[in-house]
């Protein structure tokens, strides 16, 4: 195709050849090749291959035979309801944390939008949980939730908020789920805050001025200007965050790994437990694949809730 020909070449027949690359379609496709190659080999192919795995009795490193929907049947019927716990937990975990991240993120953004000393520093500091490697900060949280030497309990007991010895954070089902959610909110809120802050800062100021002239209160300005203008940002942030929370693995894996008694079991962790330590890759794939239609539902839900008002 003559790719070696330099564009600077002057001879007219050269120029005619070069012009082929000036038409946008071939160049457009050419530039996509590396991306599509990587995504094809390491994303699309494994995804399709995973669907096939889920209908086989494959084991770790060992391709199995076709067994139809056996894995799904096993997963639904023969696991003492852990499947339903995991599905319910995955929804609960995503739902509750998203509400808190949304509300706290909005508060954080509104605060950061005010003028106060050391604003840049404060903004950088508040974003830290989102930057620091999740696994490492979750180890710190695990230490803070230690059954006997919990600094959180030490603080709570010493400020007389709870009686000695304080809650057993990771050992009791309801507490463990709450702990998981608290840390997820701690880590995820800055992302919402920074996105909202950027959204707030591009809202034209004259909208507020006009509203003020018309006698709108601060709250009215917030509900009638800030919130509607944040809709596009909200859409993107909610989509990204719900998907990532729904499929969250590393945080819950480090903090509770499904314990105690599968009470904090999530689909992602359960799939890992069956697939890697358990060696039943086919079953693991069947479990993780359940995430896909559920994730699509969640995304459709978010899109529906935030659809453009008619």
């Amino acid at each position: 195709m003559g790719t070696a020909i330099k564009a600077d070449a002057v001879a007219p027949w050269h120029r005619r050849r070069v012009r082929i690359y000036d038409r946008e379609a071939p160049l457009g496709y050419l530039l996509l090749v590396p991306t599509l190659l990587i995504l094809g080999i390491f994303l699309l192919y494994p995804f399709l291959f995973g669907i096939w795995l889920s209908i086989t009795d494959s084991e770790l490193g060992n391709l199995g035979n076709f067994i139809g929907l056996g894995n799904y049947r096993f997963e639904w019927r023969n696991t003492d309801g852990v499947f339903y716990t995991a599905v319910a937990n995955t929804f609960l975990y995503t739902g509750v944390t998203t509400v808190f991240k949304l509300a706290l993120g909005l508060v954080m953004a509104l605060l950061l939008n005010q003028a106060f000393p050391f604003r840049r520093f404060v903004r950088a500091a508040l974003l830290l949980p989102y930057i620091i490697p999740t696994v490492l900060s979750y180890e710190a949280w695990r230490w803070m939730f230690d059954p006997t030497f919990s600094v959180i309990n030490w603080l709570l007991v010493n400020t007389h908020l709870v009686a000695y010895p304080g809650p057993n954070w990771l050992g009791v089902p309801a507490n463990a789920m709450a702990a998981l959610m608290i840390v997820n909110v701690w880590r995820g809120t800055p992302f919402y805050a920074i996105a909202f802050l950027a959204g707030i800062q591009v809202i034209p100021l004259d909208l507020y001025e006009a509203a003020r002239v018309d006698g709108a209160t601060r709250w009215q300005q917030f509900t009638n200007i800030t919130l509607p203008m944040l809709r596009p940002v909200l859409l993107v942030v909610l989509l990204l965050s719900t998907i990532l929370t729904f499929a969250d693995f590393q945080g819950p894996f480090v903090l509770t790994n499904g314990a105690p008694y599968n009470s904090t079991q999530l689909l992602s962790i359960w799939a890992y437990q069956w697939g890697i330590p358990g060696g039943a890759i086919g079953l693991g794939a069947a479990i993780s694949l359940v995430l896909f239609p559920l994730l699509t539902l969640v995304v459709a839900g978010v899109l529906f809730m935030l659809r453009r008002p008619e």
Partner: protein, 296 residues
């Protein structure tokens, strides 16, 4: 502005004395901010404090555990002499750097193509790349074990370098599309009229102007790869090739025994590179995080 101010002053009940205003600001802004800061930063503080405590002090809650009485560097020494932490740090840096470079190369080209060039299917391919978000690593890691096995990449850093771009490229492409769209088309068109080829216009005009965006994408990609856990947990078993997150969670915990001092020292050190990088480029970071969202 002046008329607005006068209107406000004129309304009864809105005129406040200065001290009252300050109290109002404190309640409305400073106290909530302080609370948020304390909750946000406390885990890092606790990480740091723990890493400097001696073994006996770690579990002594009879006096306030919030500061260190006799600081010691023992845990750090131990980390560097008795564990493979230096190897993990090196591996993490290599993987993060190379996978970032690969992802940037792919997504600059793809982002430019999708944002700037007009051809059949561009929109659907753009959507297709966005839809890959619906296929997170949680869904891919089990089938990927077979792909990695067939490529003979187990216990090899290339297993991560090649798989990380699957979640880096969609993010960076999406981010860079936003940046490319914000560059006025006329700049490139002027160059084309002056006889430049499309490729020249892209390399000499669009890409240089998108450098802030490329930098932001690079930061994101580097941070995401530095933090990645699931793939490295599964593809690497040999202690010498592990990355920091996996090495720390697997090798610094022995059964039920937690060496919290060492663990927190490692967590702190593992966090420093991204924290430093980020504190230098926080504005780029924020710009990148929101480019797609705001310009959408």
């Amino acid at each position: 502005m002046a008329s607005v101010a006068r209107l406000k002053m004129g309304k009864p009940g809105t005129g406040r004395i200065v001290g009252d205003k300050w109290v109002g600001r404190a309640i409305r802004i400073y106290i909530p901010l302080l609370l948020l800061l304390v909750v946000t930063l406390f885990p890092f503080y606790w990480m740091a404090v723990t890493s400097f405590k001696s073994a006996s002090e770690l579990f002594d809650f009879s006096v306030s555990p919030l500061w260190v009485r006799e600081p010691t560097l023992d845990w750090y020494k131990h980390l560097f002499t008795q564990t493979n932490f230096p190897h993990w740090a090196f591996n993490t840096a290599v993987v993060a750097t190379v996978s970032t470079l690969i992802s940037l190369f792919c997504s600059v080209l793809a982002g430019y193509s999708l944002a700037r060039l007009r051809y059949r299917g561009a929109d659907s391919i753009g959507w297709g790349i966005f839809v890959t978000y619906l296929v997170p690593p949680t869904l891919l890691f089990l089938p990927l074990t077979f792909v990695i096995r067939d490529l003979h990449l187990f216990n090899n850093l290339w297993s991560l370098i090649l798989t990380y771009p699957t979640f880096l490229i969609p993010f960076c492409t999406w981010m860079l599309m936003g940046f490319f769209k914000s560059i006025p088309r006329e700049l490139e068109e002027a160059a084309l009229v002056d006889g430049a080829t499309r490729i020249q216009a892209m390399f000499r005009i669009a890409i240089p102007l998108a450098i802030p965006g490329i930098l932001a994408a690079a930061l994101f990609a580097f941070t995401l790869s530095w933090n990645e856990f699931l793939y490295s947990l599964i593809f690497l078993n040999d202690s010498l090739v592990k990355t920091i997150p996996v090495g720390v969670t697997q090798e610094l915990i022995h059964g039920d025994e937690f060496f919290w001092g060492e663990l927190m020292a490692a967590a702190l050190l593992g966090s420093v590179p991204v924290a430093v990088l980020y504190s230098f480029f926080v504005d780029h970071f924020v710009a990148g995080m929101t480019a797609g969202a705001v310009k959408g």
